[in-house]
């Protein structure tokens, strides 16, 4: 009897340790383009993300059409002319938090981490290294990050007429609260 209890306990622990995934479908990702002529910021609250706390594997999937702009016309142009979101509906990040061992998911706190992986958007995939933090609070892990993306790297052409209004480097901000599954 005792033995089987131990067995069950071990079983549970085994699963608790090894099957920890954190997930969200309502993560926040925004981007900001700052130039002397115009600042543009757009928000997306539909970032889906899973983090495997054991392996550090981390993925993000982001529907491009869910980016909201203050100007409706700008949103249309963003989808039609720049991101071509009918052709390339999603941006994806596939990678892992390389130093996930630094994060104690059992203890509340904020941990500086770094993630390495592949960022795909507009049909172009690039290797990227993205710094950020993991904030553990109870059964939640919040991912925060700020990094720069160059539209040119992803084959996104900026026409000469608006080249002064769109930054060469776009600042991307991630703020996603992932819940333990």
């Amino acid at each position: 009897m005792k033995k089987s209890i131990i067995t069950i306990a071990l079983l549970l622990i085994g699963n608790a340790i090894f099957a920890q995934k954190y997930m969200t479908r309502t993560g926040k990702v925004s981007f900001f383009s700052g130039t002397p002529l115009e600042n543009i910021e757009a928000f997306n609250n539909e970032a889906a993300s899973v983090l495997d706390s054991k392996t550090g594997s981390l993925v993000f999937a982001l529907p491009i059409k869910s980016f909201k702009f203050e100007k409706a016309l700008m949103q249309e142009h963003f989808n039609e002319n720049y991101m071509e979101s009918d052709k390339f509906p999603k941006a994806e990040y596939k990678g892992s938090i390389t130093d996930v061992s630094k994060v104690n998911f059992a203890k509340d706190g904020t941990y500086n981490v770094s993630s390495t992986g592949k960022l795909t958007m507009h049909g172009v995939t690039k290797d990227v290294v993205i710094p950020g933090t993991v904030t553990v609070k109870g059964s939640e892990a919040t991912l925060n990050s700020k990094f720069k993306v160059k539209p040119g790297d992803y084959g996104i052409k900026i026409p000469s007429m608006v080249v002064t209004k769109i930054a060469k480097e776009i600042e991307v901000t991630v703020n996603s609260i992932l819940k333990r599954q």
Partner: protein, 311 residues
């Protein structure tokens, strides 16, 4: 016996590890699949069937966004067949300034004043059906209603009265459009126009027409457009032609330029559909342009404290 239990629990443990290892070896691809599996398909509407709220002269299925004001400058020159003395029509021009506003995402209203017959006009345009990406709804349908007031002076024979109502005309349209793919959109536009006053009693007060409009996207910023309104014989005014227009849409940041050639010199529905005298084959071709500039009047929700700014 005891040993057997040990073996059993060891086996169970092993099972626990391997099974979790299987589901958790989790390459990033597995995680992505996990995300895909759970996403329910959202109803997604087709966007940007046309670049602008007008195909050329007539309205397109597009509305301006909620809280957005669209200021349009509409310019039509005289006919190209006018001599060099008249600079091939460029000496003469009609102009219309219009203000369109998006009350909601499905309702748009507008007021305008044009130089042709000193005309005031107002319209509403409402989305009824919207084409979806999954093609469950294969087309979009909108209603357009316009009212037109000619305010130019009229001289009538002494003793006769010219009623205010004589100055009015009305138009009703159904806009039925489909974006076939990224580069081709077509629109069918059944039209009814009512003139309170027509030149002779033999002519009908109600004119019926069918419009066909289309857009061929050349690249992300250029599109060819065409528009033809066929007035139904027996339900049209005497001496007027069907309006045929071709155009080029050029898009830059917050503007859309539309360069056009048309046998119509006017731009309101009652005038260009029902009262276009010019003929392409006689060289009555008018060059013109529409310039549109949009302003966000009411900020959409969720942008409080955002860093959006124009210097």
């Amino acid at each position: 016996m005891i040993r057997r239990k040990y073996i059993l629990s060891f086996a169970a443990l092993l099972f626990a590890f391997t099974s979790s290892a299987q589901t958790d070896s989790t390459s990033a691809d597995d995680l992505l699949k996990m995300l895909d599996d759970g996403t329910e398909k959202k109803k997604e509407y087709t966007s940007a069937t046309f670049k602008a709220t007008r195909v050329i002269n007539g309205h397109s299925i597009e509305n301006v966004g909620k809280g957005v004001l669209d200021f349009r400058i509409i310019h039509r020159f005289g006919a190209l067949n006018q001599s060099f003395k008249n600079f091939f029509g460029l000496d003469n021009a009609t102009t219309k300034l219009s203000f369109d506003y998006g009350v909601t995402d499905w309702l748009m209203v507008g007021v305008a004043r044009g130089t042709y017959e000193k005309e005031y006009d107002g319209f509403i345009k409402a989305k009824v059906l919207r084409q979806t990406v999954d093609n469950k709804m294969p087309f979009s349908l909108s209603y357009f209603g316009g009212i037109y007031l000619k305010s130019m002076d009229v001289t009538v024979p002494p003793g006769m009265e010219y009623y205010f109502s004589n100055r009015l005309a009305y138009a009703n349209q159904l806009l039925i459009a489909r974006k076939f793919n990224n580069w081709l959109s077509l629109q069918l536009t059944p039209t009814h126009i009512h003139y309170n006053l027509v030149p002779t009693t033999a002519e009908p007060n109600d004119v019926f027409a069918v419009g066909l409009g289309g857009r061929l996207k050349l690249n992300n910023r250029l599109a060819l457009t065409g528009e033809y309104f066929y007035t139904i014989p027996g339900a049209k005014l005497n001496g007027y032609q069907n309006a045929l227009s071709v155009g080029l849409d050029i898009e830059t940041g917050g503007h859309v330029f539309q360069l056009i050639f048309s046998n119509a010199t006017t731009v309101t529905e009652r005038a260009f559909i029902g009262q276009t005298p010019g003929r392409w084959d006689k060289g009555d071709i008018h060059f013109g342009f529409n310039i549109s500039r949009v302003f966000t009047i009411v900020k959409p929700k969720g942008f409080e404290g955002s860093r959006n700014k124009i210097y």
